[in-house]
Symmetry: D2
Subunit: 421 residues, 4 copies
């Protein structure tokens, strides 16, 4: 590093500042560089052409947000223990190291959550990221993993990296907004840095910062509905998942499918993943597999892979839960009549299944109370939705959206059936 | 399309507006969708983490810029023939359809320029893009190709798509600036739309627009030096090219290398590309090949591929042409002594070899005169650098930069030798 | 004008486009130019130093928003009658022509609302703005006035200029946000243009535009609380109003006060205003009067004027209505004991007294139903807060804020008394 | 202040941070608050409607830029003496305290430069700003004044506040660009903070920062030609100056003119200004005087004042110096024939008369060398235009522009005469 600060240019934060060679070494590990090969928003680039950014730039951004929070603490007289600061910054930098190809979109296929893979990678002595962390202290990789897994006893460290108001969300909301171009729902990061403060083992917000936090939580609300739950984004996910499912079925039925990569081919054939093999997978592996599948002899696999590559996605219709199974069965039958196997060409997608939390108040159980955000007026803590009208509107039971996906060729029959009483 | 306009969200232009189903159909061809799999800036994302955007969004942007220019012509009383307008918009939309993996970075490997590949794709009756264009008129694919190849007799159409002040550059400068975060050197696109006008067979600029065009040309100057010629961006290119070169040598020496893709493997083995096979290649093909190469038995191929994947790029030193071949030979010898094959671990890169034109005036030969930009004051045309001081500064002979690239292990010996008189 | 479009540079909209000489002539009337001498945000620049912009730039912006809405109607197949379009654009351009010094802050002093003054100015044959409008048609000034006064039978024209989602608000929210720097709470004007449509005699919103309108209404919510209701902004208003009140009292008691301007001095002395005299008043008149007052022999007038000029504003404390009159009387007594006349040094300010409507739903009476916003899903109209959770939170009874203002010298005694039970 | 930092919202820098109560006290002096009553860009708001911001916000911005430069020095290991830092920040904050009504536009009328007035204000024991500074140390007001007057022996302090690359310019370029909306010619302030460094008694720029500084200097070039030298901005200045000149002539001829303010009336009548009286003048004083003049019995004074208020400015034509005095005399004669007194209705304006320096290299004499900017490559200082092609273009002799201004009624005859050979 030398004595000068190191910087990286970033369209969201202007610059990422690195003063401690630990972070520079972490950034340069193959495991961190691999995140350049995993798109932040999975399949959303098929809906928002600009949304092609990777987990790597988000990881840098999350680190930078923590760095600035710590700087603000320091400036405002909350002394920060340097070792604690290093722990939090390191955790923010590597918090997504366990993400696999297409981030959340394909996560269910890999056997465990990305947080679990992240822990496995950090604890595996053969990884460079483990070695860099262990050089600080043999227990340091475990500390970092415990923060990411939210089980570290220092709850404040956990809060900074993973909570309702953490460096992860603060970065990804701004980043996804910039790259997709969905730019309403901005918030004022610089002011957020000044109004959050450590209070015991959690981050709380100064009373005067209520509207700033409202704007942040509403930005989250907008991004969920405009991007993360966008029906076309989810259509691309459905097509991609069905493609992988078809390849798995074929392999398990003994029909080998070429995928262009030995690790992926092994996994399709039933070989379990380990850290080393998991790290070999990235978006490129899947995209190359789709190129192979698009030339497959199997008509379903070939069609699905081409649909994804050429962006001929599934159509959809709103399909509330109260629609009876009888209607679903009838649609299934008609889809089959039209020559489509419903196992691959019909899917119900519920947004409430995905990570859903643009804001929850504290009315629910203990878990929600831990998640809720509190204002500090110098005397007491007040849960935010008690003082905020817009938040009182959104801080209620999840607002589920359930949709039925199918090919364009059956659009007419499906829609006709769904809209009928 | 129906009667409503179709829009796509775009972080650069806000929205891309599509009123004519021709363009919607073109966008949805597999050949256009493939551009989602080719990064706009090749390897620059390794220097600017945000620069991960694809040719696809640029293609949409170039189309949108033409659409807005035509709208401005119309508003200002220059009547636009609808067929001519369609030709220019279509050409802008597909102008980059012939780009291969990593855009310019690997272009020399594919046997002909991306413009030639583009023409071949547009004229090949088996491509969807050909079919959509031919549905307008059997001669239309050829017309569009002629515009892209700059040989169409309608010079104004050529100017709109490919000149010193064309939709291509107007889009990519703004786009690359936004995504990399290198945001000085902005210009005022909205005003540019109002000050350019057709004058005979070329685009000229109203006299009152001088400073606006200066700002645009200087933006180009800044982007060249900050991004396109950035020494680290070019280091990544050198490493990538050397990797491919090594794989080619091995294959041609009869040592087969797995690459994960039959087309790429065929090409490495000497099979020529045709349109169909060329279209099968994209960034993912190369990235998957690098994953294979990183497990190769060949030490050089394995090391180079890992260097690219893990971003351990070459170091560099300025190496002006007047440095004698004797110095180069001596450095070559020392690099070999250090255990590196100079064929793969030493490279001279000259920016004047790349497309170089942030602005040229009209002082050179006929070619330069065709390229120069003219102001129209209502009476006569005046070449721009005659009235502009900043442009008179940059509109001279190319400003070459020549650099020597090598691995970090020999940095000391190389730098010591180069700096010695 | 000639045949080329005329443009004005604007930091909010980029450019204001003028294609019809009527608007250029309107802009150049002395009555419109006078709006350059009236600040848009009254006293808010004392809290937000950047908020120094005038009504003039807002008037241009409101015109531009209407122009773009009409353009979008046209592009989307809603034919716009050119005469109707002219009426709406003219009404938007002159809608604030009746604002007096410091806009809303001093409005109660001038005898009638700014809309009434606006009508009087438009109908007065001696004004240039009347003459320019009357040249279109003798009845045109009355038509424009009727739109501004919301009594024109064409309800759609009224909606465009004055409703929950009108050109006035669309411009001022963006403008006030940019100039003050309070930049969260952005919305996507370009998309709003595409999702609003005429439906009978009102503007409605396409169903797909729900989130866009939510963002706009929340921007309004944020601007009200961060700027328009900001306690320090309102403190400056209180000080300014008390200054004028003191001058009036002195004049009416027969103690003449110099004010530097014969019209203002006449008015202070009891002469009623007419159109000609009202138009002679602007921010500069008041500011020069304050300079005179700051040199007055009357200690109260001198002190208040200096407080405003030197920005030594009143302090404040929240003072809910349930606090009994007894407490107020006790505070009044203590303020008097401290040597301050409570008539000038104590004031209760209620935000619910000011124009309050960041959003109302349709649950109230007929007036609210006329104000509510409706979504159009192709079949029926749905009031917006029925589908929107954040809006359901804010679309309820007014959220009043009541504050007590007083000089810093009595801060301790007042706060002590208010906080006591 | 208490222990928490104080912030002000600012549309240019986001926030202005104040950690030291000295600066808060300075901001709250009447002399600093008076800068709210002086527009930064004089008459430019008549051309760029958004350019209505005051010197006050610029003063805060210049302070903030110095604060950030000092922070960057500190972060990069250049230790900053706290007393020196205070001196430089204080000087930046008050550097424009001597500006009078309409800033540069009317400066020649007030007997001495705004810097001299600034020094007089700082040294006058009766001003609050003097008292606040003197509370630090009795010699402190003199120190601050010496920095502003560029005669302080600490040349580095002078450089920070007033040089080719100082806090003053860094702020006003960004600020004027934002408010006018003339937004090409941006530069990267955050990077500038990292590449400037103290080198002996001057600020120099790291070699790697060349392009960043080019962008800054070109931003200055663009702002000069688009705003500061804009022919319509200067037309408004001409009309305003001629109005004041006419009022002076009338007063000195014994024809009293009412101006609404005793200080201004005294000055018009020949009374010299002193600090106290000078501080009583601001934009409002002049604007109220124009309202009086617009009702004058003198036809010339009345006409000129109305022209300014109603924005009926003079027309202009380029009038190079080589045009002979004979042509001027002939035009003068024709203007008089048309019924206009050429002393008030004809004016030659030369931009080279105004402060002109978007960049000068070091080729001139000693003065220019002191002004030139140098790059530091770790070994030697290199004057910037030697390495920069765009700067070599602009760093030459001043590019003068000479224009003739006159009323629209004589436009035809003047233009006809000027264009004739």
């Amino acid at each position: 590093m030398g004595e000068e600060e190191k910087v990286l240019k970033d369209p969201v934060h202007g610059y990422i500042y690195i003063h401690d060679s630990l972070f520079w070494e972490l950034i340069n590990t193959p495991e961190m560089q691999r995140l350049r090969r995993v798109r932040q928003l999975g399949t959303a680039y098929l809906t928002y052409p600009g949304g092609e950014h990777s987990r790597f730039s988000h990881a840098l951004g999350a680190y930078e947000v923590v760095r600035r929070i710590l700087q603000a603490f320091d400036r405002n007289g909350y002394s920060v223990d340097p070792d604690w600061g290093r722990l939090v910054m390191a955790a923010a930098l590597v918090h997504d190291i366990g993400h696999g190809p297409f981030s959340h979109a394909l996560e269910p296929f890999w056997g465990q959550t990305h947080e679990d893979w992240g822990e496995a990678i950090l604890l595996d002595p053969s990884t460079a990221v483990h070695q860099v962390l262990a050089a600080v202290d043999p227990g340091f990789p475990g500390e970092v993993a415990a923060v990411i897994q939210k089980r570290h006893p220092n709850r404040l460290a956990v809060s900074m990296v993973s909570s309702q108001l953490d460096a992860d969300r603060l970065d990804y909301l701004m980043r996804d907004s910039l790259f997709t171009g969905v730019d309403y729902g901005k918030f004022d990061l610089e002011r957020i840095l000044r109004i959050i403060l450590p209070h015991g083992d959690r981050l709380v917000v100064k009373r005067s910062g209520l509207h700033t936090i409202e704007a942040y939580l509403l930005a989250r609300y907008f991004m969920y509905w405009q991007v993360y739950f966008h029906p076309v984004c989810r259509s691309a996910e459905v097509v991609l998942k069905k493609t992988i499912e078809r390849a798995l079925v074929l392999c398990r039925e003994g029909v080998p499918v070429g995928a262009g990569d030995p690790v992926l081919e092994g996994w399709l054939g039933g070989e379990p993943l380990d850290v080393d093999r998991y790290l070999a997978l990235d978006d490129h592996t899947i995209m190359t597999a789709l190129a192979h599948f698009a030339r497959s002899d199997d008509a379903i696999l070939r069609d699905l892979a081409r649909r994804y590559r050429d962006r001929r996605l599934f159509r959809y219709v709103s399909f509330p839960a109260q629609k009876s199974p009888r209607i679903y069965a009838e649609i299934e039958r008609r889809v089959r009549q039209a020559g489509y196997d419903p196992a691959y060409y019909l899917d119900v997608d519920e947004t409430s299944e995905v990570y859903y939390d643009y804001y929850v108040g504290d009315e629910g159980g203990a878990g929600q109370r831990e998640q809720a955000l509190y204002l500090w007026d110098g005397e007491e803590l007040i849960e935010m939705s008690r003082l905020s009208r817009p938040l009182s509107g959104i801080a209620r039971e999840p607002q589920a959206e359930r949709r039925l996906y199918f090919p364009e060729a059956v659009e007419h029959v499906v829609k006709e059936r769904v809209s009928r009483r």
